[in-house]
Assembly symmetry: C2
Homo-oligomer: 472 residues x 2
């Protein structure tokens, strides 16, 4: 029993020649397996210099944050140099497992994190590697500051979804649609006729507050903010030669309504902000075909941080003035973001968009239903009314799935609805920010699931109080 390998081999070899045969065959099999797997004999898809960055990204993705956060490559580092979790609001601790009990539901911002789980699921196809030398130049060649492939992907997606006409239209890229607000206002209000007063920039109440803030900051001799479009519909005759630029947001932020222009006439131009005109948030009834239409990655793929928006423009002169504006303001849009957007849109385009839009719609729809159910028990609060509509994209009637709840406080004494909510631990955006009555507040429904869950919980408690009062 103390025989060594050598002794056994000698014995086996003498007595069972087939043993050697087996062993030799195994040699051949193992050698071929080794050669296939060996880094010295790489297949075409074997990696060399890219491994470091790939391994870094996988390591960050492996950091456990209890489903209430994630670690980012540029996140904070712990003392031992490892990446720290970036926790969702109201969660804390090294692995985000600690729920902060007195934490308010932060539903003020329009952070579109409801799509984050989609991209986590698509991690293989949606990752992109930026090499150190990727697109260092100011331009993409031939003097263009736009990725031609990204522009084609955008046109293709609009065609697939059927939400905007792009054939024969020009496309301007901007740092989010935010940058394009004033680029469009500038392009539409200039060159001013000599001695003309500044163009009046308006939008129907309730309007997205950034139009006002931005127009006020960048006002010039060319244009100035003039508030609610409805008030000018009535007073229009008092300023017969005045030029108007109207922001039309459809679906509207904050209330999800499919707005149309309020003002019409020869001196009136419109900017249609269609940031939310995607199947996540509304039924797609027809391809929009307005003069200047704004879209953004933020509300399409959820990548608010990439700062990439675009305008679809009919008129060449307007297009050129918008391009010049962006050019002088910031030159091109980040090439890093353009590459990433191309990758993300190609994933969105898979199966004609059915994966991302089903994911988006089902999430937003379920949140709206949950919210509606809670508010249906309340006499103190009401929600905007939205009807089911036939959606050409899904080819069926689809129920409302808005990005925001536009809540009205119905009680006489609840004049400041944002305050009422804040007292109940719900941080919304006050109606006055949208030019509206403070009796309204906007609650964001498109943030991370944790945010929505907390909102639901706090709102349920608030409505339950009411029921309790009714029963005593």
């Amino acid at each position: 029993m103390n025989k060594g390998l050598g002794d056994m081999a000698a014995e086996g070899g003498r007595e069972h020649p087939s043993l050697l045969l087996c062993s030799l065959s195994l040699n051949l099999i193992l050698a071929s397996l080794f050669l296939r797997a060996s880094p010295f004999f790489r297949r075409d898809d074997e990696l060399t210099w890219s491994r470091e960055a790939a391994a870094e990204a996988e390591a960050a993705a492996m950091v456990s944050c209890s489903g209430h956060g994630r670690a980012f490559l540029d996140g904070d580092l712990s003392e031992d140099g490892s990446l720290v979790c970036d926790c969702n609001s109201c969660y804390a601790g090294a692995d985000c497992s600690e729920f902060l009990p007195d934490c308010a539901a932060e539903v003020n911002s329009g952070d579109p994190l409801f799509l984050e789980p989609f991209w986590m699921k698509k991690r293989g196809s949606s990752a992109i590697m930026l090499t150190g030398w990727h697109r260092m130049s100011y331009s993409f060649g031939h003097g263009s500051r736009k990725s031609a492939r990204l522009e084609r992907a955008i046109r293709e997606l609009h065609k697939v979804v059927g939400n905007a006409v792009t054939d024969g239209r020009f496309i301007v890229f901007g740092h989010g649609s935010t940058q394009l607000f004033t680029a469009a206002v500038h392009a539409l209000s200039c060159p001013p006729p000599s001695h003309a007063s500044p163009a009046k920039v308006v939008s129907a109440v309730p309007y997205y507050g950034a139009y006002q803030l931005q127009t006020d900051l960048f006002k010039s001799g060319e244009f100035e903010w003039q508030g609610d479009a409805y008030s000018w519909k009535i007073n229009r005759s008092s300023v017969p030669n005045t030029r108007f630029v109207e922001f039309v947001t459809s679906p509207n932020n904050p209330d999800g309504q499919l707005n149309r222009a309020v003002l019409k006439g020869p001196n009136t131009t419109t900017i249609h902000d269609h940031a939310y005109y995607w199947p996540h948030f509304t039924a797609i009834s027809e391809p929009a075909d307005d003069d200047v239409m704004l879209f953004t990655m933020s509300k399409l793929t959820g990548h608010a941080g990439s700062r990439l928006g675009w305008a679809i423009v009919k008129d060449k002169g307007v297009f050129q003035r918008m391009m010049d504006y962006v050019d002088l303001n910031t030159l091109s849009v980040s090439h890093d973001s353009q590459l990433r957007a191309l990758k993300l849109l190609n994933v969105a385009l898979e199966k004609n968009g059915s994966e991302i839009f089903r994911f988006g719609y089902e999430n937003m729809r379920s949140r709206w239903l949950r919210l509606e159910r809670i508010v249906s028990h309340s006499e103190r609060f009401s929600l905007q009314r939205l009807s089911p509509l036939y959606c050409n994209y899904f080819q069926r009637v689809s129920g409302p799935s808005p990005a925001y709840a536009w809540v009205r406080c119905e009680r006489e004494e609840d004049r400041d609805c944002a305050k009422v909510m804040a007292e109940a631990g719900i941080i919304g955006r006050a109606g006055i920010v949208f030019g509206a009555d403070p009796r309204y507040v906007r609650l964001s429904l498109l943030r991370a699931q944790d945010n929505f869950d907390l909102l639901e919980h706090k709102l349920q408690a608030l409505v339950a109080q009411e029921e309790y009062v009714n029963t005593i």
Copy 2:
């Protein structure tokens, strides 16, 4: 001779038991090698979902473009779906091997591609993988729109290089320093005292033309462009209560001079554009400590396409107004670019920056020497004079290495120097764009090597004509 493996094994086994021993040992070795190399038994650093993006990047890097171009991931596709080379100017063909003989040397733009080879060499450490869910939010948490780690890396680099004081200073990020021009002008000229005339925005001729173009486009009641700072030095007394904002560019674009403010006094503020104050382009004499200082990735790492610049600001109120401006203009700077910039700066910081700055300086220095040699044979053209200076960073005297040649046409009849150059196949930027005499033209020295080589060739030919004329 017709024995099979089985026969041989049987025979070998009987006659040479050591054969079986060898074969069994080989099996053990091969099995252990296979297990190590096999994807079924990965080491910790083995990759899964990131392989696709990594392989894509490596495949793009493998496309052969003859050293006169490179293929980008978002580049054009050929009919078979493979990536097409993006050729340097004056090169064409599927692999960029075709030199276009009548092509002009395009030295108009300030595209900093001289650093591209550095990043190609650093391909392993400078690549970054963006996952589909990377930083989708508008913010980095805690309401901040800036990567705290990027801000720290920027401060560290300034400390290592010794070119700017950052301790106790605020940092604003912008989409390139371009966006920060007007952000700074706005912050310094507002809020205006009541009934004050707009602040006059000026810069000493020759100045970077974008200051004028941008100020003209964004002019408001707060500020307006008023040309050459020198002319106001003389006329200052005629406008005693007027506020001035002076752009001071040091080293100057176009002429590389270490400019100082022309205007001084109580109603005067300055914006110091230090885009070129890096060891690539000038000796570092001391840490700059101005009120508002602008820097950009574009001229530091060469990543113009990433659109990331920053301002270092002393005053908290000015800082806040600049932040508000960027916020309303474009919200945050692309998170994709911020992640990439962090990676690039960490590479730049290796060995205290000695690799990138030596590479940059040696390249720019050699180009300047080659240019000087050519122009030294000319009486028709002259270059700006720059002196060797002691560089604290390199700890030795370093000779000039400017980003641009500021060429003067000396012949009486050569009134339009850009035209003279264009006729010789050199496309520079005309002096008038810098508020200067058309007798000047700016030639860019920091583009790709191919660009510089062609410039050298064309300029040599132009000067040779002159010598030829002199000899007949």
